[in-house]
Symmetry: C2
Subunit: 316 residues, 2 copies
């Protein structure tokens, strides 16, 4: 299962958390589920491009999971195993899975994490900075050589707690990937078109605003673009969907090695497709099972969901 065996070029450097999640779902509680933004993103990206992973885990993280990542083309040379326990998050989802509450966060070995980018990773053309402290995101950027695209995630905690450092991150990245609430919080602007314009002035020429089950918006010099979420009959666990989205998006961009307006708009659909697989199982289980054939099949179904079979012009 060398997913990207044929593609040696354009690896994606992914820096972020590897974790255990304890998930209190309407369907029951699932403890010790493998999680972490970098885990989800890596699995998603690996379906389309080689991955170089940087993160930290404790003694308790199963080597089998790392083996699985390596089998799918993830270079784990940047994954550090520290003495102690792996980062752990416990959350509870609402009955309709549309919202969640953090019950507990244990940083554990993540508390002292300082990303060290292996020499062989420094020239990675595509970089995905997971949702970590902006100071650490800046440390990563100081260690890499002029990537073609640097995408970064962030969250409300850094928006309110580290606005200055986050501002510095924004000035140095090409693509910010956040959700609608975060876009509004970051700018103080409710309307997303106006909020997007405000954010793009701060540095990233490209912006993605994720809206969960309502899809995602992309903004670049060519204007706004919208991609819907894939329509599912059974949503099991939204954990990691946003990270899988970012991973799929970067994976496609790297695979085609094209940052043009159309390629990035298609990349949005690949992000949404990977997010849709993610939510079909508890943790990354379903995502891990996805084959390239599954992805092709989903893209086919996705096309049917949006295909109008002709131009949207007023008939004569």
């Amino acid at each position: 299962m060398l997913w990207s065996g044929a593609v040696k070029e354009n690896p994606v450097l992914i820096v972020g958390s590897l974790a255990f999640d304890d998930l209190e779902m309407p369907s029951g509680t699932f403890n010790d589920v493998i999680g972490g933004a970098a885990t989800y993103s890596s699995i998603a990206t690996s379906l389309l491009a080689p991955v170089r992973l940087v993160g930290v885990l404790g003694n308790d993280f199963p080597e089998a999971m790392l083996d699985d990542l390596r089998k799918r083309g993830v270079d784990t040379a940047g994954v550090e195993r520290a003495q102690g326990k792996t980062f752990r998050w416990r959350g509870r989802y609402s009955d309709d899975l549309s919202s969640r509450t953090t019950l507990d966060t244990q940083l554990n070995v993540f508390a002292d994490f300082r990303p060290k980018i292996p020499k062989t990773f420094k020239s990675s053309p595509y970089v995905l900075l997971g949702n970590i402290h902006p100071a650490l995101q800046l440390e990563v950027l100081a260690q890499v050589d002029k990537p073609k695209l640097v995408a970064a995630d962030t969250m409300n905690f850094w928006i309110t707690g580290e606005p200055k450092l986050l501002g510095e991150v924004l000035s140095k990245i090409n693509l910010l990937v956040i959700n609608d609430e975060e876009a509004r919080q970051l700018t103080g602007i409710h309307n997303l078109v106006k909020a997007a314009a405000d954010i793009r002035k701060r540095g990233p020429s490209r912006l993605i605003v994720k809206r969960g089950e309502h899809g995602a918006l992309y903004f670049d010099d060519g204007g706004a673009f919208f991609a819907p979420a894939y329509l599912l009959e059974d949503v099991v666990d939204p954990t990691g969907a946003g990270d899988s989205f970012a991973g799929g998006l970067l994976g496609y961009a790297a695979r085609v090695d094209d940052l043009g307006p159309h390629a990035m708009r298609r990349a949005m659909y690949f992000g949404c497709a990977l997010g849709s697989f993610c939510v079909e199982g508890i943790g990354p289980r379903r995502l891990q099972d996805v084959t390239p054939a599954d992805l092709n099949k989903r893209m086919h179904a996705f096309t049917a969901l949006v295909e109008t079979g002709g131009a949207l012009t007023v008939p004569e």
Copy 2:
């Protein structure tokens, strides 16, 4: 301004409320705004096809508004002017316009409304039944001759209050147009794909589930389709957006006289486009100003919002 002067075929029969709305918006209060589902739908449809309007209004409804409707190709032969006051609705919107509360409803002349379909309207090939009592919707259906498409709206009030009559309506229509909450309430099923399948078993082979600013879903024998809401910088007043959507959709279907899967999917975009104009002004003001050129321009911009410039397949 004979919008549909060139198109004599395929008029759309629209039956529903004509009203005054008192709107408490974050930007201020607007009293005596011309409203009513049939008003919004008629204006929207008239951009694409001739309209035949059936409804009731009181002594206080301005003749100038009816003149405006007639100028745009709306046949008002089915509009009855009764002694008394026009139907009135008063509502208050939330700060972000995402929700509203009904403060007052005065049925007035609408209380005794019994739709009488003029002889010349009976053979209308397209019929839009606005959100009125299901008994009245059935009375309309008893008076028309085998339309090609009957679309109907309804609401929570009838879903809980008149389930039997509503069930009879469902068994006699081709297309139900409701919002996501109503679809869930009607079926008791949260997942919209499953709810849609349940509703389609009850009669209408076609179903639209409106999701406000998050677009709309369409279900038919060909599967599911999604059209996003057009992205706006300034949303002023969502009143009538759903009715404008339904009007635009029916207008396009009638204009092309095609109920095939692709035409209906394009019709979804025309519905969304008309809805997007509607919310740009208080009441139907903006919608009334829309020219065919404006509509063409919006469809062009809408295309840019969703265009991927190529197939969504995994690159080799």
